[in-house]
């Protein structure tokens, strides 16, 4: 492709993104001249350059659009929604032509007369028919195949983009094609200047007075005489630090302009050279170069680490100082290179104002989009990956979250709904919030939907908090939209959003208040290239675990406060009143050496909704690691997400906490398969850990592990009985002990196993005969129960089990507590009194 065209495409794409956003702002506030000026200038630039490059189709559309904009600028036409829609249509059309140009190198075939006719009609003040304009599908352009200079996102750079126009204007006559700029004669200019009488003059007046905008003939750049420009260039080249507006201020006539409109002027004087006096200088660098730099720096960091490692073990101190210096410099270099990859998140937000505007029209809702923290920077790779999820979520908020304007008024809410986007840094993360002040999630409807779609059954739902229910909107195949709009409600979406975000090591959560709105919070790492990791040891080998997944470290062992306990073959850890299922790293990886190791640490790992403990032999270090992919022959080993080179030069494998938990789940399944011949349906994801126990006669019982706070084995003699009820002094309080079912399951002597449940401020124990096992299986209640305290019968691990109704026992436990005279939580003395 022609270099000129390539350059033109990049620049125009940027301009058009700005136009989109500016137009939406303009529609909201038509009195803001500056915005209109910016739009006008951008469209004009496109048109001017198109003419220069001989792109007639583009030029025609841009020209018609510009004419219309000129009318607005003159105040000859009122700005209304139709007009903006029309202009947006022409911007879309331009984008489509550009996309064709990008692909083929020539303008695609097509007829734009439909659009141009409407644009012209509107410019003439005639009625327009929007339906006559064919809507076009704008192809999505990936974010910056080149890193854009950051300041391009700021409105101040709009003039800089306009600058080539000026240059074109200067040079062009040779081609014989008259450019608008070149058309302005010196006499005209003089006259224009004369018309601009003084500093008190409004800039718009000045502009309007200059020429006929309908012809689109003149931009203010032309007003600056060549001599002044030369002077300005000379000053810039000589590197003299002149405040940008100064050269203009020297020239008597443009002075008022400089004061009235300082922003556009610097650019109008000298294009990029002078604009750069105001802005940071920037160049375009291809992403490939940056990626290459990044790889090199990563290697350098690793080599530095190796050097440091060597120097630490040596007495020879002659190297110490220069090495320290080298180390610092390498660190700084790494930071700088990282920065080049950083882009403001605003780049992913650019299209949203336009999107919200269109949605607002389509849905007949008045929507205000508030964006906060556009300048927050993150790695462009991450940026690219979150763009689509963000768009989807904003769309959802507009479609599902916000009420219609009428509903809002009826509810006494502000008529205009607000969608707020906010971004900020927190640790090594960027947090993005998308909130709306709409109706909030309809919990009841979601519950119904869950049953209808078979995602949960009623008994399960009853035990779920609203928050838990809300999270189901991230489940695959879930959608509550009563009718499918063309925007959303197809049932694909939030699960895809969640998958996308989790793929880059992020997390998503939501909070919804009925009548007040919904807030989604996304937390994602700033960069994917370098992660901090814990280096752990197991089976005589080192492994890296990404720190993002590790919630906490618990020291275990004989002397430690926390002990690993066994339920049959499964390991669990008591942690703050909860039982944490454990996965042993060494044995899971089938490491021979792990058999003789004493587990000493448990890493509490959170993956999505799931939390488990990873048992390791040692925790050695935390290190910033550069993630490298594994060779294709190793891709089938899913527990490793990559490898890295440590400071000592050794290669360690990076564990994938997600795959580890799945593998742990598999282990449990395998064990079940050994124990029972029956095959267990493992296709359903809806699995949970369950405790199997025996109590009384009949079928074994099962209860979901998450309800159980603790397992206790106590001497029967410790149980105190009073008129048929039993209780135990437990942690300074009196805890009622309940039988399972109607018959007594409390033993007469020996050791009594107890399942301890806790609720708000109370605890209760369920006396059982024997704890059998902890298994993971899907809970599918097949036979409903006719007795209180039993939810029904389900096949768990190949055996028919009665599923215990925890709520029933909670109620009974609470009732026991209320029968006791002592207030709860009053401490030892009062509970003693209660016993007495």
């Amino acid at each position: 492709m022609d270099d000129l065209i390539a350059e033109f495409l990049t620049e125009t794409a940027e301009s058009l993104e700005v136009v989109d956003a500016e137009l939406v702002r303009f529609e909201a506030n038509p009195s803001e001249r500056k915005t209109l000026d910016n739009i006008f200038r951008l469209v004009h630039t496109v048109k001017g350059t198109c003419g220069f490059l001989g792109l007639s189709r583009l030029e025609a559309v841009a020209h018609a659009g510009e004419t219309l904009l000129g009318r607005f600028r003159d105040g000859k036409l009122e700005v209304n929604a139709d007009a903006v829609t029309l202009v947006l249509h022409s911007i879309d059309r331009i984008k489509v032509i550009l996309a064709g140009l990008e692909g083929a190198g020539i303008e695609p075939e097509g007829d734009d007369n439909d659009l141009i006719a409407q644009l012209e009609a509107m410019a003439e003040g005639q009625a327009v028919d929007l339906t006559a304009v064919q809507a076009v599908e704008v192809p999505v352009r990936p974010i910056g195949s080149e890193i854009e200079p950051a300041e391009l996102n700021l409105p101040t750079t709009a003039p800089a983009t306009a600058a080539p126009n000026l240059k074109t204007g200067d040079v062009d006559p040779a081609t014989g094609r008259t450019l608008r700029l070149g058309e302005v004669s010196e006499a005209d200019l003089e006259a224009a200047f004369a018309a601009a009488s003084g500093p008190e003059d409004e800039p718009k007046h000045l502009k309007a007075g200059d020429l006929d905008p309908a012809t689109g003939r003149v931009l203010r750049p032309g007003e600056v005489s060549e001599a002044e420009l030369e002077a300005a260039f000379a000053a810039a080249e000589a590197g003299i630090e002149i405040p940008a507006p100064a050269p203009v201020a020297e020239a008597p006539k443009p002075a008022p302009v400089a004061k009235a409109a300082p922003e556009p002027l610097p650019a109008s004087m000298g294009g990029e050279d002078l604009a750069s006096l105001n802005n940071t200088q920037s160049i375009r660098v291809s992403v490939d170069v940056l990626e290459g730099l990044m790889t090199l720096v990563s290697e350098m960091v690793l080599t530095r680490n190796q050097l440091l490692q060597i120097s630490r073990t040596r007495e020879d101190s002659a190297f110490a100082t220069p090495l320290q210096r080298l180390s610092t410099l390498t660190g700084e270099l790494q930071d700088s290179v990282m920065k080049t990859r950083m882009q403001p998140i605003g780049a992913a937000w650019k299209k949203l104002p336009r999107l919200v505007r269109d949605l607002s029209h389509e849905l007949h809702k008045k929507i205000d989009l508030v964006m906060d923290g556009e300048g927050t920077e993150l790695d462009r790779q991450v940026l690219e990956l979150i763009r689509d999820p963000l768009t989807h979520m904003v769309r959802n908020s507009a479609d599902h979250g916000l009420e219609t304007t009428e509903e809002r008024i009826a509810l006494g809410k502000p008529a205009i709904g607000t969608i707020k986007l906010a971004a900020f840094h927190e640790g090594g993360y960027i947090v993005i919030r998308i909130s709306d002040n709409g109706k909030g999630l309809n919990t009841g409807k979601i519950r119904e939907k869950l049953v209808e779609k078979g995602l949960a059954n009623r008994t399960e739902l009853e035990t779920m908090s609203d928050q838990q229910v809300h999270r189901y909107i991230f489940a695959p195949g879930f959608s509550t939209a009563a009718k499918v709009t063309n925007l959303s409600g197809r049932g694909v979406g939030m699960d895809v959003v969640r998958t996308n975000i989790e793929q880059i090591g992020g997390q998503i959560d939501l909070n919804s208040v009925p009548g007040q709105g919904t807030t989604f919070t996304i937390k994602i790492p700033l960069t994917l290239a370098i992660v901090s990791a814990l280096i752990v040891g197991a089976g005589g080998q080192k492994f890296a675990v990404p720190q993002t997944a590790v919630m906490e470290l618990v020291r275990t062992g004989v002397t430690a406060e926390h002990k690993i306990e066994r339920i049959n073959e499964s390991l669990v850890l008591r942690l703050r009143e909860k039982l944490l299922p454990l996965v042993q790293l060494g044995p899971t990886l089938q490491l021979e050496a792990a058999k003789n190791e004493d587990p000493s640490f448990v890493m509490v790992i959170q993956v999505g909704e799931r939390r488990y403990g990873l048992v390791v032999n040692d925790v050695l270090d935390t290190e910033e690691i550069v993630v490298k992919p594994l060779a294709t022959v190793l891709r089938d080993v899913d527990v490793f997400s990559g490898a890295t080179i440590l400071g000592d030069g050794s290669v360690v494998l990076i564990l994938d906490p997600n795959a580890m938990s799945e593998r742990a789940g598999n282990m449990l399944e395998e064990k079940q398969a050994e124990e029972s011949e029956s095959t267990v349906d493992t296709t359903n994801d809806n699995r949970c850990a369950m405790l199997l126990f025996k109590a009384g006669s009949g079928a074994p019982k099962a209860v979901e592990l998450e309800h159980i706070t603790r397992l206790e084995h106590i001497e029967v003699s410790q149980i105190e009985r009073m008129d048929g009820r039993a209780a135990l002094q437990y942690r300074g309080k009196l805890m009622p002990i309940l039988n399972v079912g109607d018959y007594s399951t409390i033993k007469d002597e020996g050791i009594q196993p107890l399942l301890v449940f806790t609720g708000e401020g109370y605890a209760m124990g369920l006396a059982v005969d024997e704890i059998v096992d902890v298994v993971e299986d899907r809970l599918q209640i097949e036979l409903s129960a006719d007795r209180p305290g039993v939810r029904g019968t389900a096949v768990v691990a190949g055996r028919a089990c009665e599923i215990v109704d925890v709520d029933y026992y909670h109620l009974r436990g609470l009732a026991e507590h209320q029968r006791h005279p002592a207030p709860l939580g009053a401490g030892q003395s009062s509970s003693e009194r209660a016993v007495a």
């Binding site: 690793l302 594994l630 190793l634 080993v637 490793f640 490898a643 050794s650 290669v651 360690v652 494998l653």
Partner: protein
């Protein structure tokens, strides 16, 4: 007559050859980190000048018995397949031979399948046969799985 360079190497006493243009380097595989749960042929991963190289054991790949105790330190030839760096761990490297394409023979039909797919041909040298290996099928994930 067209000549081609082959790096000749020995695995379990047998002489093999690999197209010299495909061999990046020859090195001692040291500091190999085993990859748990991976296929038996994979010896592990190692750091070769800042690159992570996957070491594949030629003996295990060819179904030969493991190296006897006390044999000299093994060598590895660095090869690249599908953009990944591999080190084929072998017993020793002999020399680089220039061989005439005309003396190249297709592999005989009676080879075991494990060998047949990774052998492109055979040269009849004066003393013995030189078996030419194809790195692509030797190290390719799909072929490893099938093996």
């Amino acid at each position: 007559m067209s000549l081609r360079d082959y790096v000749t190497l020995r695995v379990g006493g047998q002489l093999f050859g690999v197209d010299a243009a495909r061999v990046h380097d020859v090195f001692h595989p040291r500091g190999v980190t085993p990859v748990p749960l991976s296929r038996g042929e994979i010896a592990g991963v190692l750091n070769l000048r800042g690159r992570i190289v996957t070491a594949v054991c030629a003996r295990r790949r060819l179904g030969l018995p493991p190296r006897p105790e006390g044999s000299p330190e093994p060598l590895a030839v660095g090869l690249e397949v599908h953009g990944d760096s591999y080190g084929l761990v072998i017993d020793s490297v002999d020399e680089v031979l220039k061989l005439d394409d005309e003396k190249f023979h297709a592999p005989p039909g009676n080879l075991p399948p494990r060998w047949a797919e990774i052998i492109v041909g055979v040269y009849q040298l004066e003393k013995e046969l030189l078996i030419v290996l194809e790195p692509q099928t030797l190290l390719d994930a799909a072929h490893l799985k099938a093996a």
